[in-house]
Symmetry: C2
Subunit: 134 residues, 2 copies
DNA sequence: CTATATGATACTATATCAGTATCATTTTGT
DNA sequence: ACAAAATGATACTGATATAGTATCATATAG
């Protein structure tokens, strides 16, 4: 199981590159070069980041993407959630139906604690901390 | 993304039930009752646990499964690995090919640390601690 | 007004997850 | 000996997630 999948990974690379460029707007072509992934796939990733409010875009000639916030305020946990959804025990893996006995709920409780700590760790990592120019 | 999937979850329930019974051998029928899952699916799960050395089985009339070790020596992390594989950044998500620049490797390093802590937390939870009769 | 950029959306292939089914083999009771 | 009762091995199916591609619409600079 992977905590970080490819979309998230590529997203982080693109964001770190944008961070290096200190708020500049870059085209997909620039980012494709920096990240090393196919253009259509990166486009999809960038569009999701825009929808999530992490990037701002501009259409048309000279258009492209820039960070919507300074890189020290963009967290790995947030980026990861965009592409992989939240870390969730959702209270119960099975809806309410099966979570009837308390040894199971013990597991749930322990997992919730672990997931909470994990989420905090992921939210402690900023894009800035992953930049080249730190 | 789920840290614990259904197979792992059912496995833990079955193991905790076996732990409650203090080393007794139980049939699949008994475990189906305790866990609340279909018989063929539970059978598959129990077989994997046997292959992993967590359960011992006995065929034939009066056969069934028992814990291969005391429940305080069976860890959630190990059970999880049987069904979901190891937590892995495997050094690099992409093999060596793409992990060429060091901002990416920073991410790798941070993820390795996080995954290490997570694995230790999962290995700190014993089946015994999930039993009813604790 | 057209070339260039992103936006929205739908499609495809592969892998993983969740679960079922079947036949072989071992063991026990009669 | 033999039939019943148990697990072993294995293969199959359907649903969902992952990884990626393709296409047409829309906005903007020059």
């Amino acid at each position: 199981m992977r905590l970080i999948n490819r979309e998230t990974d590529y997203a982080v690379r693109a964001l770190a590159h944008l961070g290096d460029k200190a708020g500049e707007r870059l085209s997909v072509s620039d980012l494709v070069r920096a990240v090393g992934v196919s253009r259509p796939f990166l486009r999809k990733i960038l569009q999701k980041l825009e929808q999530a409010g992490i990037l701002e875009s501009r259409k048309g000639r000279g258009g492209g993407f820039k960070l919507a916030r300074p890189p020290e305020r963009i967290m790995l946990g947030e980026v990861r959630t965009v592409f992989q959804g939240p870390l969730k025990t959702e209270n119960c893996l099975f809806g309410v139906r099966l979570c009837y006995d308390y040894k199971t709920c013990r597991l749930r409780r322990k997992m919730r604690d672990i997931e909470g700590r994990l989420a905090r760790e992921l939210d402690a990592i900023t894009i800035q901390s992953l930049q080249k120019d730190l």
